[in-house]
């Protein structure tokens, strides 16, 4: 990296006489950071956050990541404020707008904190050094004799002190130091301490602004009728009745869909119900998820794209004293955030203002600009709070709909998806079949491990090339990077195309693969009379292997397994019908996780009582936030285990809402305990990671409680007898 670009730029004037620092991140590398001068070309840089200290002392931190409940509006400012020694009560946080200064605000992949830990602290530290220098210069003393306390510089020998606001104008004229010393963890006032969510006061009084709450003068409301089958085309439209619905202003064709525009949401919905449409449903109308499930199971018997091979797994399996085989199945799921998709657009004078909650503000900007055929700079994206993200809000199609519609009716308009729209017109977590095979030697040790996944290529935004040589590695998260040691192993992926939208989801492909892997391991343990915890520890006993991608974290995985076993009381006697199940995972070679579920089954009813989670995601920035993410992940994973699935018949999704796609409820939620080990040297992701083992831990506990092995999500009422 060009060292000259590793500079802060001061824009004192822009901050009304205050101090303004800018930090840029090269988003193409996960943690590689560049400090870019704003006046330079920033094409190669992706600015991340600005810090502004105003003469009033108000400290504004602008965050280039969005808030969807994962806590970035709290955790990321904490990093800056810690090293700045800011007065947390004077810190204000705003979400950035995409543009030249924030070229990648995409919030996904659980790397908001991990990727910013060093850079944001460094930004705060350099700002602090400049404030200290300004104070020292004003007092004619050495900066070394000055200290800071939240929001102030003090000179203990003379007893003088000045607030950051008073020092900001002077500090803005001081050259930015190339490097500043960071605090030692023992000096932290914020990092590692429980810090309450910044938006809580606004959330509890109803003033927190989500996309759906945006109101623009003159705004209309729209609901859009789409073909129930992906790729279908509008054949006929009779909107005469719809146009007579009170409050309906207009009926507008938007691509292959029909928008009803009204004075309020209800008029738009009522008008939509009065539309008479016929559709050419196209080829997807023959898609049936029951038939597809059988195709996946069949395909998993075949050979696929090889993701990883150790030794000769086929030969070892053939020679094994004993063979085990099992088919694990994973259905289609949909995100179903509580806030349905929506966007407000106002197109006028060759420009467009967009208001929405999105995980990909820049994609919203680019896609809308392309659709309107205008410069992206003419599209202003006002990012709102997200009423849930989970990967769904990486999609921006509702923003495009709103922009097209606003242009058509020459007025600001809010496009509101109904719950049913949200269930049926999103993108889905791909269904999969996992064919698991193990060969055991005469003493019951695993001699061969084979994992063959049949599933479909994610086709969200960029369709993955079915001939991509890395097809298996792209999809088999937890299958290819299986952390355990086997004398021979093989992980392969058979592509079975599905003609429906498939896209990212919380923990992406890990829940599918890890469910199969960790349940099958449990099967092996029980089949060979081994304790499931001991078996895992044995398979990790070799320690770190030569393969840095797949074998570098075994000690850290073993550590969380031992911790979770201790905390959950693994091995203790339980009443009949009650059981413990363990599952573990290394997520993307970084965060290590182990979870133990405690369940009971009585009269065919499954109850999850307790979930004990151990996680090593390095130093924890906000313990309250981390525990929230683990709790959230367990609830998410249990919804996959106990809740609904998406099914297709005649190309149509059969589910309409939470009635037929249930998600976990309060009364079904277990007590959830979170224990941490800071084994990794820097913070790692924790938002998606804890989802991965949840289903397997629960299903393994069901086996321990009942002797019934469930190999498909979600658990069906008949599974428990």
């Amino acid at each position: 990296m060009n060292p000259s670009r590793r500079e802060f730029l001061k824009l004192g004037a822009a901050a009304a006489g205050g101090l303004l620092l800018e930090l840029a991140v090269d988003g193409t590398l996960r943690a590689e950071v560049a400090f870019a001068a704003r006046s330079e070309s920033v094409d190669a840089f992706r600015p991340f956050a600005w810090l502004a200290i105003e003469p009033s002392g108000r400290t504004l931190i602008t965050i280039g990541r969005v808030e969807m409940g994962q806590g970035t509006r709290t955790s990321l400012p904490m990093l800056v404020a810690e090293e700045l020694d800011a007065d947390w009560s004077l810190v204000e946080v705003e979400t950035a707008m995409p543009g030249p200064d924030f070229q990648d605000m995409r919030t996904s992949g659980s790397w908001s904190v991990g990727g910013r830990y060093g850079p944001l602290r460094q930004m705060g530290a350099r700002a602090r050094a400049m404030l200290v220098a300004a104070a020292a210069a004003r007092w004619g003393v050495s900066p070394d004799d000055c200290v800071t306390e939240p929001g102030r510089v003090r000179h203990p020998p003379s007893g003088r002190s000045l607030g950051y606001g008073a020092l900001a104008p002077d500090a803005a004229r001081i050259p930015v130091p190339p490097e500043a010393a960071l605090k030692q963890p023992a000096q932290f006032r914020l990092i590692g301490h429980p810090v309450a969510r910044r938006d809580a006061p606004r959330i509890v009084n109803g003033s927190a602004g989500y996309g759906l709450d945006v109101r623009v003068p003159g705004m209309r409301f729209a609901s859009i009728e789409r073909c129930s089958v992906t790729g279908g085309r509008l054949r006929t439209l009779d909107d005469s009745a719809a146009r007579h619905v009170p409050g309906v202003r207009d009926v507008v064709r938007v691509g292959e869909a029909v928008a009803v525009v009204g004075d309020h949401t209800w008029a738009a919905l009522a008008g939509r119900r009065a539309l008479r449409t016929t559709w050419d449903e196209g080829t997807v109308a023959s898609f049936d998820s029951r038939a597809f499930r059988l195709r996946l199971a069949e395909a998993s018997n075949g050979r696929g794209s090889l993701g990883r091979s150790v030794g000769d797994a086929d030969a070892a399996l053939a020679q094994a004293a004993r063979r085990l085989e099992a088919l694990y199945e994973y259905p289609f799921f949909v995100h179903a955030p509580l806030e349905p998709m929506n966007a407000v657009a106002h197109v006028r004078d060759g420009r467009c203002d967009l208001w929405l909650g999105t995980q990909a503000p820049n994609w919203a900007q680019e896609d809308v600009a392309r659709r309107l055929a205008i410069d992206p700079a003419k599209v202003q994206v006002h990012v709102q709070l997200l009423g849930g993200g989970f990967g769904r809000r990486l999609g921006v199609e509702h923003a495009i709909e709103a922009a097209e519609l606003s242009r058509a009716i020459a007025a600001p308009v809010q496009v509101v998806w109904t719950r049913e729209d949200d269930m049926r017109h999103g993108f889905f977590q791909p269904a999969a079949a996992h064919r698991m095979s193990a060969g055991l030697d005469g003493s019951g040790r695993i001699a061969s491990w084979r994992h063959c996944e049949a599933s479909s290529a994610q086709n969200f935004r960029d369709r993955i090339d079915p001939h991509d040589p890395d097809l298996a590695a792209i999809h088999m998260w937890g299958g290819v990077d299986n952390p355990y040691t086997y004398p021979a192993m093989r992980a392969e992926f058979v592509l079975v195309e599905a003609p429906i939208p498939l896209g990212p989801w919380r923990a992406v492909f890990a829940p599918s693969n890890v469910m199969a892997r960790e349940c099958f391991l449990d099967e092996i343990a029980h089949a060979t009379g081994k304790d499931p915890v001991t078996l895992r520890l044995d398979l990790l006993a070799a320690g770190e292997g030569a393969d840095p991608r797949h074998e570098a974290t075994r000690s850290r995985l073993a550590a969380v397994i031992r911790l979770v076993a201790e905390k959950a009381g693994w091995g203790r006697a339980l009443p009949s019908g009650r059981g413990l199940g363990i599952a573990a995972h290394v997520y993307d070679g970084e965060t290590t996780l182990a979870q133990i579920a405690e369940v009971s089954v009585a009269k065919g009813a499954l109850r999850v009582h307790r979930f004990v989670c151990a996680i090593d995601c390095g130093p924890v920035v906000n313990p309250l936030g981390l525990a929230a993410q683990v709790e959230s992940a367990v609830v998410w994973g249990l919804s996959q285990t106990l809740g609904g699935e998406i099914t297709f018949r005649n190309g149509r999704i059969e589910q309409t809402g939470f009635g037929d796609y249930p998600i976990l409820r309060l009364s079904e939620t277990p007590t959830i305990e979170t224990y941490t080990i800071a084994g990794a040297p820097r913070p790692l992701g924790a938002g998606e990671q804890p989802v991965a083992p949840v289903a397997a831990a629960a299903l393994n506990a069901v086996f321990a409680a009942t002797g019934k092995r469930i190999r498909r999500l979600p658990v069906a009422s008949g599974d428990l007898g």
Partner: protein, 156 residues
């Protein structure tokens, strides 16, 4: 279009709306009270919960025709109506994740507490089990309701 009168957070309003328009959209689109959330429109998520006295109800299932002449409490009026203990407990327990479902939760929780019943797990389940949270704030909701009940007892 017919005219209806109703009271929201102690303030009388007169709205012109189709008689079948749900209270949810009257609040959000006609009165600008967007704290009441749309989640499903069919009474299956409870994000749209408002209060009438000490009862929590789904504003998506109540038409303005039926709501006329009645008085409702929404999240915007909760603090002024004695709900600040619940709000305080919510902040202290760091309940909210994305926060979208929380206004409905707070109204149902405050109604439960004001009914004066014993606040135990069974009572919390009964009052809040129809409230869905996709982020999984449930463990902290349980804690916050208990904390709010304590705060309220302490205030008496």
């Amino acid at each position: 279009m017919p005219t209806f009168r109703l009271t929201v957070n102690g303030v009388p309003h007169e709205v012109q709306a189709p008689a079948d328009m749900p209270l949810l959209w009257v609040l959000r689109d006609l009165l600008g009270l967007t704290g009441t959330k749309y989640g499903c429109g069919v009474g299956s998520c409870a994000a749209c919960t408002v209060r009438e006295g000490r009862e929590a109800l789904h504003s998506c299932l109540l038409t303005i025709g039926d709501a006329a002449g009645r008085s409702f409490l929404t999240i915007e009026g909760l603090a002024a109506a004695g709900g600040s203990a619940v709000q305080k407990a919510w902040i202290e327990a760091d309940v909210a994740h994305c926060g979208y479902c929380q206004p409905g939760m707070l109204l149902a929780a405050s109604a439960l507490i004001e009914r004066g019943a014993t606040i135990d797990d069974a009572a919390i389940d009964a009052a809040l089990d129809n409230h869905l949270c996709r982020c999984g704030s449930y463990p902290r909701i349980r804690e916050a309701v208990k904390r709010a009940a304590q705060l309220r007892r302490g205030a008496r």
